[in-house]
């Protein structure tokens, strides 16, 4: 059908021109074929069976990393001189779109398998015993940067609120609509800190005001910023990037 239309529309033109156009069309189709062949890598990844296999392997890698995780193994700490300046900003939006949380009205909400669900204001959180760490933040993209964070040891906070530490997961929802979740073993790791300060200053909005959970044993995207609420659960909560295919455990 198409071909006949083309021939009719080309009627009256010289056979040489027609041949030249046909040749061009052939080349164009050949090029698309070539492009299609090159695309096969993406298409292979999109195939449902391949997707299932890859997700299955990612689940296996979650278990392998959970098994490899040593609750007493500490992430290396660095001297002040090793701190990366300026520390890179990274999120699923640009730095001028950073969410501004009002600290005065702020309350950290607690849900799920927690005994004391009373929300926490910032002054209450600042009064808890604080500790600092200078550790390497490693991004899933490959780059890394060293920073200093200060806050309360997360395991102490979990004990204080009566969290059921025999549960499997802790999930976080954030002011910027980000969400993520971690395993209980990592939550109880001595270097996992609920931090309120960065480089000895109140955590600036771009680094996650009012608080960021700093986990030096996990990749950067597993360290939620602007935390509004947290919940303890036995049901897999997923995460913003995790639901799109990033490995859930993502341990370092």
């Amino acid at each position: 059908m198409k071909r006949r239309t083309m021939e009719t529309s080309l009627a009256g033109h010289s056979p040489k021109l027609i041949r030249s156009i046909e040749r061009r069309l052939f080349l164009k189709q050949g090029l698309s074929l070539g492009a299609l062949a090159l695309l096969s890598g993406c298409e292979l990844t999109d195939d449902e069976g391949v997707q299932r296999l890859l997700m299955g392997m990612s689940g296996l890698n979650d278990r392998a990393q959970g098994w490899l995780f040593n609750p007493n193994k500490l992430a290396p700490e660095y001297p002040e001189s090793a701190i990366t300046k300026p520390f890179p900003f990274n999120a699923f939006y640009s730095v001028d779109e950073v969410t501004l949380v009002d600290g005065k009205d702020y309350k950290l909400e607690l849900e799920g398998l927690i005994r004391e669900k009373k929300p926490w204001t910032l002054p209450e959180l600042y009064e808890l015993p604080q500790t600092s760490q200078i550790t390497r933040h490693i991004c899933v993209e490959g780059w890394s940067a060293i920073g200093k964070w200060s806050g309360v040891r997360f395991s102490d906070f979990l004990a204080r609120i009566g969290a059921d530490t025999s549960a499997k997961y802790i999930g976080f929802t954030c002011a910027d609509d980000y969400y993520t979740s971690i395993d209980m073993a990592t939550a109880l790791h001595p270097q996992t800190l609920l931090t309120f300060r960065f480089a000895d200053q109140v955590l600036p909005p771009k680094y996650g005001f009012p608080m960021k959970l700093r986990i030096p044993t996990k990749l950067g995207f597993k360290n939620p910023k602007h935390i509004m609420s947290m919940f303890v659960t036995n049901e897999y909560p997923g995460g913003y990037w995790e639901d799109q295919g990033y490995n859930w455990f993502s341990g370092s």
Partner: protein, 206 residues
């Protein structure tokens, strides 16, 4: 019948052929997905064309990389264990001296390297295949150093820390790819080696 059989010699044992092709498939996945991961945060002032990569985006590439990892490690353990226990490595790769490697590489460049008996590797082949094994070992350990810089921080420290482990991982990949490109070029130049890697047999040169 016996005379016909006598013309064929066994060159590659079955386990070598099977592990070779699994390895070829696994390395292709590892390299193509690794290039996509590299593009997420390039170490050097260049990117790999996305058309040459696997995974579609970073998450997909990471899934491929950490899936093929298991295939390659299991396959590699099978191959190296066989190579050591059976004496395959000792028989096929040794003796090996710098002088013989130099001599045979020079011969290969002049197109004067003889391949009369495919069951015996010349010194250039021995050096190249051993280098591939060494590259694979360095890739596994530098990969572990990047993947687990806390849990396996002793390995990361061997490479001088996380950032230098990334550089080692990339450069070793580049060396491995270079050797594989030369390897494929040699197969194209001496095409009768190709079916041998599938059937395991070669016709004895008369």
């Amino acid at each position: 019948m016996e005379a016909a059989q006598a013309q064929w010699v066994k060159v590659h044992p079955l386990i070598v052929r099977v592990t070779h092709w699994i390895n070829a498939f696994g390395i292709l996945i590892m390299v193509a997905s690794g290039w996509r991961i590299y593009n997420a945060s390039p170490l050097f002032p260049f990117r790999i064309p996305n058309e040459l990569t696997l995974g579609g985006w970073l998450a997909g590439a990471l899934q491929w990389h950490f899936a093929a990892m298991w295939l390659l490690v299991i396959n590699g353990i099978a191959y190296v264990t066989y190579g050591i226990v059976s004496g395959h490595f000792r028989r096929k790769f040794f003796p090996l001296t710098p002088a013989t490697v130099f001599h045979d590489v020079l011969g290969a460049l002049r197109g004067k390297l003889a391949h009369d008996d495919l069951s015996v590797y010349n010194a250039a082949q021995r050096a190249a295949y051993l280098a591939i094994i060494v590259c694979a070992v360095v890739l596994v350990f530098s990969g572990l150093a990047i993947w687990k810089p806390v849990q396996l921080q002793e390995i990361t420290a061997i490479f001088g820390g996380y950032e230098s482990a990334r550089v080692v991982h990339f450069l070793t990949m580049a060396l491995l790819v270079l050797i594989v490109v030369v390897h494929i070029a040699m197969v194209i130049l001496v095409p009768r080696t190709f079916p041998t890697m599938i059937t395991g047999r070669a016709r004895r040169a008369s």
